[in-house]
Amino acid sequence: MAVIRFLRDKWFYLLLLVLALCLPLLITNRYHFQIVIMGCLFSIATLGMNLILGYTGQASLAHAGFFGIGAYGVALLMKGGLSFWVALPLSALIAAGIGFLIGLPTLRSRGSYFAISTMCFGVIVSIVAGNWIDLTGGYNGIVGIALPTPIHLPLIGSVGFQTQVAQYYLVLAFLLLTLFIMHRLVHSLLGLSFMAIRNNEALAGSVGINTFAGKILSFVVANFFAGLAGGIYASLMGAISPSTASLDLTFNWLIFLLLGGAATLAGPVIGAFVIPVTMEYLQSLAEYRLIIFGALLIVVIIYFPRGVMGAVGNLRQKVRDFYDRKKGAKGAAAG
């Protein structure tokens, strides 16, 4: 019974999962496949941003800075001879640790103040990456970063990551892991306390939530996932530069998040896939598509402030209301 109920409730997600697993059979074009891989990576980064911005209500604009820290961390540690599987968690932890140190002063400020001070930190990261030539290679960046170290599985044997398909399954696994952790987190008491801070910080404090600790924790976890995405990015791309930490990237994720739907788990993923794919379809419009995109952003934020997921939610509510009314009408007729 439990299995049937599980299937009935979650069939949509299972279908999506099967589709995602079969995707390499459907997409044969290398370029398109690359877009899908980047979509998975940016989904992880955007999900991290969603935790601090969407669920906790603090608009951090340092996200690409932490993505960059993760990327440079993996690049430098792997150049230093560490395995990818050691370098990646280490770099994500470094990003989280720096996030803790930066969160201590910046999270004391609120609203736009917090947004601007984190934006300043993000800009500092990219300036330092461009000028600390001995460590980061300056504006030329670091090239020739190795692919993820092959892993040994019990039955299949050694799995390398030279092929795009293998890389895709790698990022998909990390995306599913991120989604799982985020799902557990936002549905826990801790997640509820984050949302309480977002909705009314003073009230949350008065019912005994340590709001500052909550904000710090959310910021640290968000930056851990930014660093994680950055680390995978560095290894898969093989080359990074200060633009890996640029503010433009933060703005991109912000747009993915807001258009997809903040404070939902599906929203960031939808945004991170739909927008880049749409941009590809509009390739013929060249530079003009950015103008259209900017205009679209303004229209969406004015008329659909909760993004795609908000619009879907409204639609579902309307359909449900319609059925309820129909049922109600039938009941009244029978009675």
Binding site: R108, I116, V123, G130, I291, G294, I298
Partner: protein
Amino acid sequence: MQLFFQQIFNGVMLGSTYAIVALGLTLVFGILQIPNFAHGHLYMLGAYITFFLMTLYGFGFWSALVTSMVALGLIGMLIERVVYRPLQDRPHINSFISAVGAMIILETSVIVFWGPQGRRIPNPYPDMVELFGITMSHQRLLVIVAAFVLIFLLQIFIKKTTPGTTIEAVAQNREGAMLVGINVNRVSSLTFAISTATAAAAASLVAPIFMISPTMGALLGMKAFVIVILGGVGSIPGAILGGYILGILEAIGGGYLSAAYKDVYAFGALILILSIRPTGLFGKEVS
């Protein structure tokens, strides 16, 4: 010592532009509560309009500057009406996203229509003077003096004229201003027009000294936000003082420490100061 005074002079010149731009931003951000992240991009557009008026249509420097101010004032009013007014009562982050949209539109339009390369406005006053061993070009002196005059005029406007006092009234108490019959929407339009027109003036004044390019606005806009926050949101003296301090800080730091890291000083100072005073140096205590 000569290097020191030379850097101070450059710092004051740089600070003059920062002060004007931050002044415009503090009006809309502090007084109307609109985080206009596109301010730096409007500044950039002002420089471009001056450039094209001078090179394509044969305007003189001053007539181009005034026309550019008027044009930007109108564009500012348009942006307030289309981009920000519908979001008036929503959370800050929404206006912020809207501003990112405006930023993308402005920057890409300039790249598409006029190309990504840097351009230089012909310098109207190329002569130099030497005073106590400091080299000063006439254009740089002009920037300092013009900034001074502009700030002075703006102060008189806000303190002494009726439209100016309505801006202050809205800043002090929005509902109260409505109750005494002030049209708050009209005040918003007016404030935006002043803010963007002064940004255009600042951009046109320094355009003959630095190159103009589509990306010049982004960093300046960010610095303007730093100044506004350090000086206290909504504080006009704070914005002016903060502008000059940042200009001098950058010139001294760039001259003595490292030119590559000159932007780090401003941003680092902000994080440091906000950690001690979360509402800025001269900011009021608000939650």
